[in-house]
Symmetry: C2
Subunit: 444 residues, 2 copies
């Protein structure tokens, strides 16, 4: 089984490239390369130095403003004053682990758990989505007694050893591990009879059979319900129901990775899985949870957590500290106070309709899919239908020239990933649409 090349091979700075950078920038880049080494990745052939963020905007060192349609971590807006002051106040008062009682932490845990359906009654606080998915995998192994996991072909679930094994979009030379099965993303357009629910469930069923035949057994399916790294596949709502039934019938757990769709992005409630009318066995959270404060979480059934804890203790030093809880509380306050879930649904819906209109005008747009403020736009060769990765790359760079930050996703990197902070307005959408129309009109 071959793995995909990382999307980031496009639109990134190539160390040692012969670009004619200004000496000051060239020196910065050399220093950065010397300290961060081979793990350094910088967006764009000519990287941007960022100095300030506010709402949907980032500002570079020259004062230039960029409309941020890429960064999903500062979900309620860059440097939101309510979140910043909550962090500052709590950091000045107390920052300690969870082995003492603390009202801020307990209040947040209760409030957050109140957003989940029964029987998802326990919360473990971590520091990152990676730690959350790592723990979720261990819980699934403890509960099922099996080791096999199923993920989609270009999935990304995080960066620990265990989670990298289920993150094929991170593989470059590494082969797929024996306990992992990759299945195609749930692409409605490619599904037989257009029944993506049945076809996705059938792929999961086949992968379970394969794990069982190999004597590995099936522990869990890990999916983010918007299939972010695969190219964003959201519709129709409810298509994951059949898959949930298949997973449970086989004795496995359904792990909903809400690191990307969670906290309102899809516009259909706080969680991506809500749109599908399903109750997962484990839910993992990360990125937008603290609007940039490093925090994550795992929500699961108390009996599952208890089964896991019989074998191994779990403690997370920074996880659930009162500053994280204050940040998380402020994020929920802002989401509710500013109606950002509704905004994601409304502005995202508008944007999606406009993009579908643009698709009728420009034959290079091969598809538009999404939910709320998470939209994928494919570029394809109008004649052959082949993924047009260079066009996506061209648009990303042209957008940068026009003051818009945006990235790509999908197996071929030909899908524009539209994922702005949730305070994105109709005005911002207009600016983006005008810019996209102009770039497409000018051609590649």
């Amino acid at each position: 089984m071959s793995a995909t090349k990382p999307i980031l091979a496009l639109n990134r700075y190539e160390p040692g490239a012969v670009n004619a950078f200004a000496p000051a920038l060239a020196e910065r880049l050399a220093k950065r390369q010397a300290t961060f080494g081979a793990a350094s990745v910088l967006f764009y052939e000519q990287p941007i130095e960022m100095v300030r963020g506010q709402g949907v905007h980032l500002y570079d060192a020259s004062g230039r403003r960029y409309l941020d349609m890429y960064n999903n971590v500062p979900s309620v807006g860059h440097c939101h004053p309510e979140v910043v002051s909550a962090i500052a106040a709590q950091a000045a008062a107390l920052n300690v682990h969870t082995r003492y009682l603390n009202r801020m932490v307990e209040g947040y845990a209760e409030r957050l758990l109140g957003k989940f359906p029964a029987p998802l009654g326990n919360l473990v606080m971590t520091c990152t989505g990676s730690e959350s998915n790592d723990l979720a995998m261990r819980i699934a192994i403890a509960v099922t007694g099996k080791r096999g996991f199923i993920v989609t072909r270009s999935a990304y679930h995080g960066n620990t050893a265990a989670v990298t094994a289920i993150s094929p979009s991170s593989f470059s030379a590494a082969p797929v591990a024996p306990h992992v099965r990759l299945i195609p993303a749930p692409d409605e357009a490619a599904a037989p009879d257009g029944d993506v629910g049945a076809s996705f469930a059938a792929h999961v069923r086949a992968a379970i059979d394969s794990l069982n035949e190999a004597g590995i057994g099936f522990a869990g399916l890990v999916v983010d319900s918007i299939f972010s790294s695969d190219g964003i596949f959201a519709d129709p709502p409810g298509f994951l129901k059949k898959t949930l039934a298949v997973v449970h019938e086989a004795g496995g757990l359904f792990i909903a990775d809400e690191v990307q769709p969670g906290f309102g992005r899809t516009g259909g409630g706080l969680w991506g899985f809500s749109r599908h009318g399903i109750v997962p066995d484990i839910v993992t959270m990360g990125k937008p949870m603290g609007n940039g404060y490093p925090m994550g979480g795992v929500v699961t059934r108390p009996d599952y957590l208890a089964q896991f804890c019989q074998e191994t203790g779990y403690f997370n030093t920074f996880g659930g500290n009162p500053v994280a809880a204050a940040a998380g509380n402020a994020v929920l306050d802002v989401l509710e106070g500013e109606g950002l879930v509704e905004n994601a649904a409304q502005v995202g819906g508008l944007l999606c309709r406009e993009l579908l209109g643009l698709q009728r005008e420009f034959s290079r747009i091969g598809g538009v899919r999404g939910a709320g403020l998470f939209i994928g736009l494919d570029f394809n060769d109008p004649e052959t239908g082949a993924p047009d990765t260079p066009m996506a790359s061209h648009v990303i760079n042209a957008m940068k020239q026009s003051g818009i930050l945006i990235g790509a996703a999908g197996l071929y990197g030909h899908t524009l990933k539209i994922r702005p902070p949730l305070c994105f307005t109709a005005g911002h959408a207009s600016f983006f649409l005008e810019t996209l129309r102009r770039i497409l009109s000018e051609g590649a």
Copy 2:
């Protein structure tokens, strides 16, 4: 191979215990148990509700002050104003990932790398010590092509799937994984001829042989150079030199876990490994790095990081964000500005001498060991020499009654773990010594 029971079985709240808690506290505890579930651990039979921290002190909900001799994360002092204001200022300005250039982040990376000997030239920023050790293990596997790791018998290196496998102090029912070998802690008192350097190196050599014979091979030795969870073994400085030679001769990597000893705690420079005059192949950092802001790091040789990156991409969303860098910078500023490494050496030295004096008075004190402000004090049966775990537990609870927070470590949990913030003064040491003398005089 049997694993140890977690130390925390002592001096923790037992859910459902028939203690006569006040109704308000009982309700809090029930709620906390309902949300955190089986993963909930609270210190002390009657847990403390914390509301405020300042310097070396924590304050509970009733306003009671505790001298903190347990918490090693707020290393420059709870809620240090310089760190708090650095976090607040940067969080208000910009908080974003490392794929854009940013002076705060690059400046911190260069400054931190300047504290390491050649050839340790690259830094990967993570969010936790667990993520750091997880990544270090993967780098070691990539560089050596082998999978086996060696750790001490009661080690704790973190909470991911991979790192838990090398953290025997977390095991309860779980067996030791086939690719892991446990060796005894380097206890000078138990070493033949008192040559702990030779005996520890011999144990490592035997474990390497065992991994090779099993066809697993040797990837790395992971040790924290103060052996925190094993009961604190610091002396003589330099005893790890022989072990480093053995590790390198076998083609493995020496991974120095500086999550506990790092950032000045041992008083002999910034790093625990400095005291031993060795240069590790990989250094991992966490806990005190941001004085409570969730951050960690891995420092290694550029060629090792490059080898790792050939196989797999590594990106950490929150790792190396500008707020973390600001916190990390402020921690280095305070360490330098307030002379805290020197303070750790001086006050720690004083405290250690006084405790050795107390040992001559009280036969229940079986040993005193440490470096800087990381000291272990054993309780043993004066007649049989057997570890006296109940006595350690009694002292921890009596200390709480006297307004001092302290914990235990070691295979038997009979070692008092003395690990205050580094702004601990001679006055604080006197209060602790007087309290300990009184508790010991009163008997258990």
